[in-house]
Structure formats: structure tokens, C-alpha cells
């Protein structure tokens, strides 16, 4: 079992997109090689959705739910953060489940960014 101890690798606050990317980059190749991963939150004091969106939510782009349930486990996640993780997973699932919706969202947002940049 590959255990990722977040307090050691990221610190007591797992909140930023950048830290989420670091964790995603560790998890992804392991899951790709069908290896089980334990994400250990022991010692982590604050967990926030920008971190979880990238570290966990993005995995739903690459893997199906059955694979993730089998290979990815969460340990020592404080009870107060569980609704946040649940919401992140629901949101990512909805987003990646419908490619047409996803493309439409991305297209509109890309256009918006271009419009702002042009201002």
C-alpha cells in the first residue's frame, strides 16, 4: 500500500490548488499502475475544497468510480471535512460525466477570459 502522509508532504494546511496539484501528481501514476493509495490526513488541521478539487476531484477525469473505490482510501480525515470531500466528489463526477456540458462550460469561460484580457 502506498501511503501519502499529507502532514509530512504538504503540511498542516491542505488548502491550495498548488498543493492539490502536487498530491495529484503523486497519486495519478500509482493509480495508473493499479497500485492502491492511502491518503492520510493525520496531523492536517485545515482541508479546503481548492486542494481537494485538484488532488481528488480531478482523478474522476482519469479513472472510473469503481477503480477509485478499490484503489484510493482516505484515512484520518476529520469528520468536519467529510461533507467537503463528498461535495467535491459529487461536483467532479457531475462535471466529468457529461462531456458536452464540460465542453460548453470550458468554451464559455475561455471566451470570457479572452474578453477580459482584451479589455
Amino acid at each position: 500500500m502506498n501511503r501519502i502522509q499529507l502532514a509530512e508532504q504538504i503540511g498542516k494546511y491542505c488548502v491550495t490548488v498548488q498543493d492539490g496539484q502536487r498530491v495529484y501528481a503523486q497519486i495519478y501514476p500509482l493509480l495508473k499502475a493499479a497500485q492502491p493509495v492511502q491518503l492520510d490526513f493525520a496531523g492536517v488541521q485545515v482541508v479546503a475544497s481548492p486542494f481537494l478539487n485538484v488532488a481528488v476531484g480531478r482523478l474522476l477525469r482519469d479513472f472510473d468510480s469503481e477503480t477509485l473505490n478499490k484503489l484510493l482510501k482516505f484515512e484520518n480525515l476529520a469528520v468536519g471535512f467529510k461533507p467537503i470531500l463528498r461535495r467535491v466528489i459529487e461536483n467532479a463526477k457531475r462535471y466529468y460525466a457529461d462531456p458536452k456540458y464540460r465542453e460548453a462550460v470550458e468554451a464559455v469561460i475561455t471566451k470570457r477570459e479572452e474578453d477580459f484580457d482584451a479589455d
Binding site: 475544497s49 478539487n53 468536519g80 471535512f81 467537503i84 467535491v88
Partner: protein, 294 residues
Amino acid sequence: MLVLKIPEKVNDGFYDYARLFKLWQRLNRETEAQEIELDFTDCVFFRQNGVAFVLGLARLAQSKGMQLSVKQPKKQEVWLNLEKNGFAAALGLPHSSLSSTAVPVREDRSKNEPEFIEYLKNYWLRDERVRLSDALKGVIISTVLEAYVNVFDHARSPIGAFTCGQFYPHLNEIVLTLVDFGIGIPATVRARRGQPDLSAREAMSWVFQDGNTTQAGPRGNGLKILKEFVKLNQGSLDIYSEDCHGCIDKNGENFQTRRANFTGTIVQIRLKSDQACYKLSDEPTADDAEEWFF
């Protein structure tokens, strides 16, 4: 010189914000003045939201190249509080040392989550004030952080974010106000939906509904997480942007068009300071072996 007269009383209700927004409108209209005076002469009552907002106004004026001066209030106690909470120091005015018990005003030009977390932990949620476990403080911080991150991900505020907090011992409440001077939530929603005629009320109401987001990628949970948390735990959330005032609490969500206009965004979070008031989740607790993906 542009003189902005600070209202006599600045509490944290709608009419107080409406008066503050008028000051912002005057500053925005001003095109000639090289100097600005913040005139506190008649101010006798000035809450944390006023501190954050008026510091933001000062920075906005400075960003336009205006020279700033401050006229002190006749009521000495008001000025002492402005010294204690760091307002005077932030503007380079003479001040006594900061109080160890006041929640200082904070300004962030750019996003710095770890520092903001330390601020919440060490000042707003300090043990002398609140009867909350460390675990619960972590969840509260995570929730408040959603509003803070939103400022930098969406608002495009040229002068960043301004935060100030307050503790009400007799009410068992803690309040935090975040102010930004960016483009506002409705403008972001209109652009995202491609509907330039959407009213501020419609836009604000939309962005708080499940599944709606202005962000690319599987994101956009922040406001929903904040909303669910306050509803579940006897808190409340007030949001002002353009002419819309949104109020969310356990009784529901109410978005109204008001006769007051501010292009930026104000988020005011009111929570209980007693652990017994918190429920954390209305769902059964899942154990670590749970299958999370469905």
C-alpha cells in the same frame, strides 16, 4: 479636496452598508481632487465591517494617486479602537501599540492562504474568545477560506481584500467581514452565462445553487460549502454585490434588490462561538473504509 464624512454610527446592517456605499460612490465619481480626507469627527460607533470597508476606500483613493488625511473622531473611544485594531497603523498614523485582544484589520493584495489561516486562528478564533475545539476551528477556517479564495479567483480587485472580525460575548457570536473592490459576483455570472441583462439578484441567486459555477474545471464549490455550513450551524451569511443583498441562514435564502449599489463584494459571516451550537454535518458520519466514489 474630497471629504468623506464617516457616518455617525456604522453598524453591520443593510442601512449601514448603504451609507458606506455612498462614500464609495462619491470617491468613484471624483475625478479632480488630489487629496482625500476621511472625516471621523462625528462618528461615535464603528463596527468591524466599517473598519475593513473604510481601509479599502483609503487604499482605493491612494491607488488613484490621492493624498490621504484622517480627521479624528471627537469620541476618543472610537479612535482608540481604530488604534487597537490596526487601522491607524495601516494608514501610517500615530498609534499606541496594538491590542492583544482586538481582531486586527487585515489587507491582502494577493492570495496568501497560510497567513490568512494564521490570522483567523490567532485573532478571530483565539481561545480567550471562543469555546470551540481545534477540530471545529479547522472546519470553520476551511469554510471561511472559501470566501477569501473567491476574492482572488474571481473578483479582480485592484487593491485586494480587506478583512476584520469582531467578537460579541453577550451574544455568543463571532462575525467576520471580507470586502473587495473588484467586479462583483453578478458581473462574473453575466459573463459566464452570456446574459448581460441578468439582474444582480438573479445572478446572485443563480451562483448559490448547486451545480452552478463560474469556474472552469470541476470547481466552484466554495459559496455552496459556505452556505451549507452557516445554515446547518445556526450561522448567517450576508452578501452584498451591486444592488443585491443576499441573506442566508437556517430559515432559507433571500436575495433582494435594494436601493444601494456597490460594485465590489462584501461577505459577512456570523457564527456561534459555542461548540454546542454546531452540528457539522446533517449526514451520517462515514468511516474511513467508506466507498466515496459512486
